[in-house]
Structures are given as C-alpha cells and as structure tokens.
C-alpha cells in the first residue's frame, strides 16, 4: 500500500533555510542559552537514562529476535530478488560505512581513559585495562550497530519490499492510520534532516582540528593557525563536493575502497610491528569478556551504586551520538542491502562491524594499554593534555612512524570526505521525497550548505551549539526509532507466505 507522503510543506524548501537559520543561531548563541540547553539535556538524561538504556537494548533484542524467527527468511526486496552486491563487497561497504573517524581516535584514547579513571576498582592495573577494553567494546559494538540496524532494516524493508520512499517517516506512514500519522512522519523526516546536517557539519569542524593536530605532529605546521584550519576545511569541502557531483557508484564507492585499503593497512602495520600476540590475545579475550559483561552492561543504570554521572558522561553520550547518526548511517546500510534476507542482514550488520570494531580497539587500544602497563608509558599523560594527540603519540612509538602517521592523516581526511559525501547524498534523498537517486543539484545544494555551516561552526568555535542540537534531537529520535520498530514488527507479522 504505497502512498504518497502527504506533504505538509516541501521539505527541501523548508529545511535548507531552516538549517541556515539554526546555524546562524548557533553562531551567535549566547552562553546563557547554551547553558540552558545543557541543563535541559542533563535533566533529560537524569530522568530518562533508564529509558535510553532500555530502548537501545530493546533494539538489539528485537534484531536478534527477528533474525532467529521465521521472519528471518524474508527478503529485503521482492521474493526473487538477488543481492545487489556480492557478499564481500557488501561487507566491505558495511565496514566502510560504519568505521568512522570516531573509532580512529577513540579506539586508542577511550581504553586509556577508562584505564586511568575507572568507575570501579583501582586505576592503571591490568584488571582496569581489561575492563577498559570491555567498556570501549560496549560503546562501539553491538549496541551502536543495533541502533543503525533497526533504522536500516525498517527503511530497507519498507523501501524494497513495500515500495515506500526511503524516508525515516515511511514505516509510520505505511502502517498506521489516523490524523497523527502525517505530521508525525513528516516531523521525523524534518528532524532527521536537521540532525544529519548538523551532525556532519559538526564532525567536519571537529575533524579539522584533528587533522591540524596530525599535520602539526608530522610536518610541524602550526597547530593554532586559523589559516591552516580554513585551508583544511576548504580542501575537505572541495573533495567531497567533487565526489558528490559524481553518481554514487563512482565517487563514494571509489573513496570507500581507498578508505578500506588504507584502514586495513594501518591496522596491519600497527598489529604486526607492535606487540602482535599480545594484541591478538586481547582481541580474542575481549570478545569473550564483552559478551559476558554485555547482559549486565546492557541494562545497568546504577540505582544502587555510584555510576550515574559516569553513565551520562560516557554511555548515554555515545548512545545519543549513535541515535543522531542513525538516519544517516541507517539509510546508507539500507541502500546497499537490497536482496538480502533479514537474517543475512542482521548477521552482517550486527556481527561483522562489531567484530571489526573490537579488532580495531584491540589493536590500537591494546597497543596503548601495553605501552602504559609494560612499556614506557607517557601516553595517558599526553591524553590528559590533548585527546587528539593520543593516536599520533602511539604511532610515534612504532617503526616507520612517519609513514604510518601520514597514512593515519590521509585516512582521517578520507573518512571525513566520505561521510560528508554520503551525508549530502542522504540529505538529498530525504528532501526529494525519498528517491533512491536524488537529483544532482539537490545534493550539491546540501553539500554547499553543510560546508558553509561547518565553516561557520569552526570560525565561531562554538561546538556546544552543535552538540546541544545533536543531543537534544536524540531524545525525540529515539521515539521515532521505536515507532519504526513497532511498524516493522506489526507489518512483518503479515508476511503470511511463511
């Protein structure tokens, strides 16, 4: 029952200026407003942390259930559709989509931060190290991918099998009736657009400072100069716009392949030139420890123990980021998964990226922890001064350090480019009634707007505005994802063929 989305307002003509307005607002946002926004967020977290935890864990449980149920054989597409991409390509693209800039840095920094300031137990002991790995895996593993997976599954199912447009509001539109449907669905689309636009602009402007630090470490260029920051940002914008002009198969696919090669190269170099067997031991052990700790971590909100603040600072912040990125990553995953059965889909989306993330964390975090526990140390001292240095300080300890650092910088640059590129694609999709291939000028328009927004944010140094918007929108978006999940659950039970 495909239906035309009842357009209350043309999304494109509304959201583009809206984003601009919000951007301007963010630029000039006085500190008192930011404090107010932060207070709202804090209140939301303090009152609803149980809800976030339960919601995200329920996404995971839902996915596992649906994969094992008889609906696991349902194809995302027509019954006779073959998978659009070969399995290896599909996995490579999943990897490329999910492995973002964040893991590049936090993979080495987060384990050290947990190691240095653990919630429980003594700091800087081997037990703290093992716990640090588990917590990092928890934040970047199954829960993150469950969030993306539910959104992706909903959009893929309703898009490929029920021929709805590829919009976050489509599942709701398709399944439910009532006067509330249209505004709620439209609201979801609007929210998704705003969140993706700001999220990407924010990550671009943060990425600039990371790149600048990296260049400073390797080439000795200034780490404070605004000129260099602007230069880097302009380079980023030019490259991703260039890629945005080309169709999806060319620009993004090519860049993703390079990304993957570089990432694997970096991973291998660090793995094989460092403490190889130690890292691999950490990898294997962390899988087991993570799975063991998962049932407890998935539901723990510390009513009887100290940990509430820690939960807000770490876990909930991550969950909000993943939820804010879900429309973007989810749509992308959906896009590449035509023809897969639900079981394959869940397996691919949950298991593979989680394993790869844990491997990445084991390699980088494990190396850092080894240095701190058994080696020369000094990395956590650097982190306490500047987090972005953690990766480069670590890389300096390895052979071929300069080459490796250059690879890391290139990887960082390309990740930013691909995520900006795919974001403009997704934004184009959302504002063109969910077409699979949005018109090029729309994509360009979004590309330029996101670029301008990023420049403005970087110049104003006002990242708080972005973060406030991202986190504030995570609260209602959780509700959106739950509605998608509900719509999916409801519709899938109608699959009578099985």
């Amino acid at each position: 029952m495909p239906q035309q989305p009842t357009r209350l307002f043309d999304l494109f003509r509304l959201t583009l200026p809206l984003c601009g307005l919000l951007g301007l607002f963010g630029l000039l946002m006085p500190d008192s407003l930011i404090a107010a926004a932060a207070a709202i967020i804090r209140t939301a977290y303090a009152s609803l942390d149980w809800f976030f935890m339960a919601a995200v864990s329920s996404f995971l449980i839902f996915l596992i259930w649906i994969a094992f149920s008889r609906y696991g054989d349902v194809k995302l597409g027509e019954d006779d559709d073959q998978p659009e991409f070969s399995t290896s390509s599909w996995i490579a693209m999943l990897f490329a989509t999910g492995m973002g800039v964040g893991l590049l840095f936090w993979g080495s920094a987060e384990p050290l931060m947990h190691f240095d300031e653990p919630l429980m137990g003594s700091a800087r002991t081997p037990a703290a190290a093992s716990r640090a790995m588990v917590l990092t895996a928890f934040h970047w593993g199954l829960h993150a991918w469950a969030i993306y997976g539910v959104v992706a599954l909903a959009i893929a199912y309703f898009g490929f099998r029920r021929h709805e447009p590829y919009l976050p509001g489509s599942p709701v539109r398709h399944v439910f009736l009532g006067r509330w449907v249209a505004p709620v669905a439209w609201g979801s689309d609007l929210l998704a657009v705003v969140v993706v636009a700001f999220g990407v602009a924010g990550s671009l402007s943060m990425g600039v400072s990371q790149l600048q630090t990296g260049l400073h470490e390797v080439f000795g260029t200034s780490s404070q100069s605004l000129g260099i920051s602007v230069g880097i940002l302009v380079a980023l914008i030019v490259v991703y716009l260039g890629s945005a002009i080309t169709p999806i198969d060319v620009g993004i696919r090519w860049l993703s392949n390079i990304n993957m090669v570089l990432a694997l190269l970096l991973l291998s170099v660090v793995l094989f030139s460092g403490e190889t067997s130690f890292i691999l031991r950490v990898f294997v052990t962390s899988i087991g420890e993570y799975l063991q700790a998962l049932p407890e971590l998935a539901f723990q909100t510390y009513p009887h123990k100290v940990g509430g603040e820690w939960l807000q600072k770490w876990t909930l912040t991550y969950f909000s980021s993943w939820i804010a990125w879900a429309p973007f990553v989810g749509v992308f995953i959906a896009r590449i998964s035509r023809g897969r059965t639900i079981r394959q889909f869940v397996g691919g989306v949950l298991v593979v990226p989680t394993l790869i993330s844990i491997l990445w964390i084991a390699v980088f975090g494990g190396t850092a922890l080894h240095e701190e526990l058994y080696g020369r140390g000094g990395i956590s001292e650097v982190i306490s001064q500047d987090v972005t240095l953690s990766l480069f300080t670590l890389l300096q300890r390895l052979p071929f350090s300069r080459v490796v650092a250059i690879i890391a910088i290139s990887l960082d640059f390309l990740f930013l480019v691909t995520s900006a590129d795919s974001a403009t694609f997704v934004l184009g999709m959302f504002t063109s009634d969910g077409q699979l291939d949005p018109p090029r000028n729309r994509r360009l328009a979004w590309g330029l707007s996101v670029g301008v927004l990023a420049v403005a944010l970087m110049l104003s140094q006002n990242l708080d505005a972005v973060r406030s918007i991202t986190v504030l929108s995570a609260v209602p978006f959780t509700a959106v994802i739950m509605m998608q999940m509900a719509a999916l659950g409801r519709t899938i039970s109608l699959e009578k063929q099985l």
Binding site: A38, Y45, S88, A123, R490
Partner: protein
C-alpha cells in the same frame, strides 16, 4: 577487479612488513622485577637504539633465578646482573673480591656468556640504622649491634632471608647477634625505610643503591668484617649475540664505569620515592651522563603547566615548594610560575592550570561584605597554613592591649592583608595604616606604629628575622567577634620556640594556602568529547587524588571550600547531584510512559 588488485597490493605490503620483522630479530633484554633493573634496562636499550641497532625488547623475567635461567636458556640475550648474585646462583662459594669477575668470566665461558666490565656501582647489601640512633648509641659498624642485648628487630627484603651464604642467618651468626621477633619482610625499599624510621625495626637491610638512603635520616653501618661481598653491576651477554651484532660490544662498553653509586641512588630515589616511571628516569639518567642532549626527555615535550599566584601575596617562597609537589604528580611537565593580579580570574579564563591561593580568595568580598564561596574554582590540596602574626616591640608592658595603639596591616593588594583589614575593621579596631610587610616592620621598629598584623607561614622567614633582630614579640590575637564572619579563619596555634625567645604557645587565627584549579563544569554533557576542542584542560580526578596524597601531611582542604571532586563520589553525593527537579522528573517520565502505552496500543489494535 579493483578489489583483487587492492588485495594483492595489501598482501605484498604485509609480507614486507612481516619480512622486515623476521630478518633481524630484536634482542631480548632481561630485567628483574625491581625499579633499578627496569631503569638500567631502559638505559641499555636506549643506548643500543641510539647506536643504530634495533631497540631491544625489555623482558621482565621476574626474580634472580627466573632471569638467570632465562639467560642460560637463551630466552634473554643480555641483562644487567650483579657479580655476587650470579656467583650465588651458581652455588659457587664466595671467592675473594679481586677474582670475582675472573671467576664469573671463567664460568661464563662454559655457558656461552660474556661478562663485560662493571658499570661502576656496587649494589651490595647494607645494614642501616636511623641516624639519631647511631648518634645516641654510638653505632658505627655492624659489630656494634651486639649492644642490643635482647637482639635486633630486622626488616629486610624477602629474598635476603633465604640466602645461604650472605643472608640473614649468616649475618647474625657471623656478627654474634641475636634476632628479636620475626624479621619483617618488605619488598619495597621506601616501605622498608619507613618501617625503620617508625621504629618497627632496629635495623634495615637494604641495597647499596636504595633511593631511600638519600636524605632520609639513616646511616649505613660499616661492614668491618667484610661480610657482604660487593655486588658489582655489570652487563652479561650471550656470546653468540656479541658475535652476530658487530658494534654491540662497543656500544655496551661505552657504559662501562659510567654509572656510579651516587647516580644510581639518585635514579632509585626518582623511581622508589618520587614514583616516576623507569623509562622517564632512564632518559633523565642518560642526560646526566651526557649520552643524549638536554631537552629530549620524552619524544614530545608536554605543554608546561602554568601556576599563578597573586603578585602581592607574599607566597614566593612557597611557590617553589608547590612546584616540587606538582612535579611529584606531573612527571616531566615543567611548571611556569607567574605573578598575576588576580589568580582566580586567570583560572576562570583558562589562562592558568593551577593557582596558589589563600583560602580567602575563595570568598570574594564586595564593599567589605563577604560573599559566598566562589564555586567555579576548586581547592585541590593544601600547601601550607598561614597564621595572623600580631607583633609589637619587645619590652612593652604586658597588660597593654596590642591593638589599642596605632596598628598597621598589610595593604589590600595582598589578599591576606585585605582579610586582616576586614577582620579588624569589623571588630572595631582602628587601623592606622596599611603598607607592605617589610615596611610595616621597619615602621614598627622606628616606633611609628605600635603593632602590626602580618600574615605568614608559621616560621615565616621575614617575621622570624624581624623578631630576632628588632627585636619584636609575638602576641596572641585577642578574641574577635568578627571572626565568625570569615569562617575560613580557623584557630591556629604557633608552638613555643618557633621564633626567637618565644616561650609560650601563641593562639591566633590562620587559614590555609591551597593549590586550586578551575571547577568542572557540571552541565557539560559529553564532556569527554569536549576534550577534542578544549585547549587548556582541568587536571583529572586521578591527579587531584594524587596531589591530595602527596600533601596529606599538610591536612585536607577546609571543608568550607569547594573541593575538587573526589574520584569516587559517594553514593549519597551522586544521588543528590543526579536528582532532577521533581516536576521535570515526573513530566518527562509520565511523557515517556504515555508514549510507550500509546505505541503499544497502536501496534496491537486491529488494522
């Protein structure tokens, strides 16, 4: 297709990397389980790496038998060993001093080991007593311990007890001593000396290079019977390795005789007492020896810490002490001292990491009224306590009230001076003048003033000098009602004898001098992500804890002051800070429940 090509390229690169690994395996450098060995291992590794050979991998091989076993079996290629220990391990009777090295070289040949010339220090066992005991009982040599008729209480490393030839049993029997009670077995040198100094033992057996031997008030007893053999440290290398790596011998020989006992004690002091990491101390040691150029400690220089203090606050002498405290926690960070007009402002603006503040600076006052504590700044640790010294010329009649005449206080640019002015002003004392401390004392001497009130540490040098020379006397601060308005002023007792001819204790008021930092902004969500953009960071909770431990002797920060958050908040504190306002809590939660119920109903009802 492009995928396949990419795969092949990657495989080639991987092979290259792996291949580079296998061609020249890294040397394995063994280190025993204690800091001296770790430092020496790092030193040797660094020297080898600087000479262009692949940096050896430092392997912690446990205790002597573990390490020597590893050396023989080839798991370890080289290590620093002590001559006496090595002979002991092989069960060879202790030979005369001159032929120890020859003996080892002979034995080494049959095992394929080469002993290089000694590094230059002797880490033999030493018997140590507290200096005051040595002076009191006139103890000079170990044999003098027979004066302990009931026997001696001993503290020593655990491994000392079991040694057959030169262990505890032999020591006692050879010198005709008796053991009282069970020996205290403590591995860590610093704890051993602490046990000795707190009278849990009469003698401590330690190592000649123990860091604790420096300025800790202990004396080494002479080994007149020559009981303990010298334990010269030297490098022992597997002979095949020396042949395979040309240039290794030359590199290792460059260390011969370079590290003397003083240097090693210094290095041990850094690791054992100061708690710095072996790698960093190794680098510093190499700098001292001139092997590496200055300024290359650590691969990248960490940003300096900025410590600010008020220009007129008279805390300069304490600034140096504060720097040492900071160094104990922040190894390898240089500390920049800056005098500023308003240290609190510097902290809030993020222009300084730490500030040295009197407690009064936490309570800004406006128009003479004290406001509530400044919560944006946190007290981290106490550096010292300062007291209000009421001074007048010696020889004044005892019954005159000191504050009735012309009273001088420090000028209001000095934050402590401001406090005194406020305190006295509120108490109705007439203040004749305000000036700098030095000038006040001069004017008191010249009879221009009758009394001055100066804030300073107990035993402050300026005050002590003035009291001795002018001469002045310290009088108690009369009880003032107004002190309740300045709650951070606590009763302070200046003990008798602190100043010249001060025969009685003097009661006055005092306040703490603290190390402070900017408070964490509670409302920052995802503050660790904030870290990506913040330039000057707050010190971490762990560092706060460490600073507290290091300054524990000075007491904890006054509970009135906003304290830096402890690492582990109590459950109660967290519950309080976690509680959202009741209305918002109810609204949000009922909203969420309404949503969930609605969603459930929408899903379940028939289409």
């Amino acid at each position: 297709m492009s995928g396949m090509r990419g795969m092949r390229a990657m495989a080639a690169i991987l092979l290259l990397v792996a291949g580079c690994q296998g061609e020249r395996a890294r040397l394995h450098l063994g280190a025993k389980d204690f800091p001296e060995q770790l430092v020496l291992a790092e030193v040797v590794a660094e020297v080898i790496a600087n000479a262009g050979i692949a940096r050896p991998q430092v392997i912690n091989c446990g205790n002597t038998s573990g390490c020597d076993g590893a050396l023989y079996s080839g798991r370890v290629d080289l290590m620093v060993e002590y001559t006496g220990t090595a002979l002991n391990y092989q069960g060879v009777a202790r030979a005369h001093r001159y032929s120890m090295m020859e003996q080892l070289r002979e034995l080494g040949k049959s095992h394929g080991l080469t002993w290089l010339d000694p590094l230059g220090f002797d880490n033999g066992y030493r018997v140590v007593v507290p200096t005051h005991r040595a002076t009191a009982l006139k103890l000079r040599a170990i044999v003098d311990l027979v004066r302990f008729s009931e026997g001696v209480r001993v503290v020593c490393p655990p491994s000392y007890v079991g040694r057959p030839m030169d262990g505890l049993a032999s020591l006692l029997s050879r010198h005709g001593l008796r053991l009282r009670g069970k020996p205290l077995l403590i591995t860590k040198a610093a704890e051993r000396y602490h046990a000795l100094l707190t009278n849990r033992a009469d003698i401590a057996v330690g190592y000649g290079t123990d860091g604790g031997l420096r300025d800790l008030g202990v004396t080494v007893l002479e080994d007149t019977l020559g009981f303990h053999p010298p334990y010269q440290a030297a490098l022992v290398v597997r002979s095949p390795v020396l042949e395979e790596y040309q240039g290794l011998r030359k590199v290792l020989d460059s260390l011969q005789g370079r590290i003397d006992g003083v240097t090693m004690r210094w290095a041990n002091y850094q690791t054992q007492v100061q708690g710095r990491s072996p790698g960093i101390v190794a680098r510093a040691l190499l700098q001292r020896l001139g092997f590496i150029a200055k300024g290359t400690v650590g691969r990248r220089p960490l940003r300096d810490l900025e410590l600010v203090y008020g220009k007129h606050d008279r805390v300069e002498s304490l600034a140096v002490k504060t720097t040492r405290v900071i160094h104990q926690v922040f190894a390898e960070r240089a500390v920049q001292l800056r005098k500023v007009h308003d240290p609190v402002e510097m902290l809030l603006q993020g222009k300084a990491d730490l500030a040295l503040l009197g407690a009064e600076r936490f309570f800004p006052s406006r128009e003479g009224r004290v406001r509530a504590a400044e919560r944006r700044v946190n007290a981290v640790a106490v550096i010292s306590t300062r007291a209000l010294h009421v001074l007048r010329r010696r020889g004044e009649p005892a019954d005159t009230k000191p504050l009735d005449g012309r009273v001088g206080v420090e000028h209001s640019e000095n934050s402590a001076g401001r406090v005194v002015g406020t305190l006295l002003g509120m108490a109705g004392v007439r203040i004749a003048t305000s000036d700098s401390a030095g000038k006040l004392l001069t004017r008191l001497k010249e009879k221009d003033l009758d009394a001055v009130v100066i804030v300073g540490e107990v035993g402050d040098a300026l005050i002590a000098q003035a009291i001795a020379e002018i001469p002045l006397e310290l009088v108690p601060l009369p009880p003032l009602e107004s002190r309740h308005l300045l709650p951070y002023l606590r009763p302070q007792r200046i003990p008798p004898g602190t100043y010249k001819e001060q025969n009685a204790a003097v009661e006055t008021l005092g306040s703490q001098l603290l190390l402070a930092t900017r408070a964490a902004q509670k409302d920052q969500v995802g503050s660790h992500v904030q870290a990506l953009s913040a330039r000057r960071k707050r010190i971490s909770a762990r560092q706060v804890q460490h600073l507290l431990e290091v300054t524990m002797i000075n007491g904890r920060p006054d509970p009135l002051l906003p304290a830096a958050a402890p690492l582990h908040a109590t459950l109660h504190q967290e519950r309080q800070s976690r509680a959202a306002g009741k209305t918002s809590d109810v609204l949000l939660n009922s909203g969420v429940f309404a949503f969930l119920i609605w969603l459930g109903w929408v899903v379940i009802r028939a289409p």
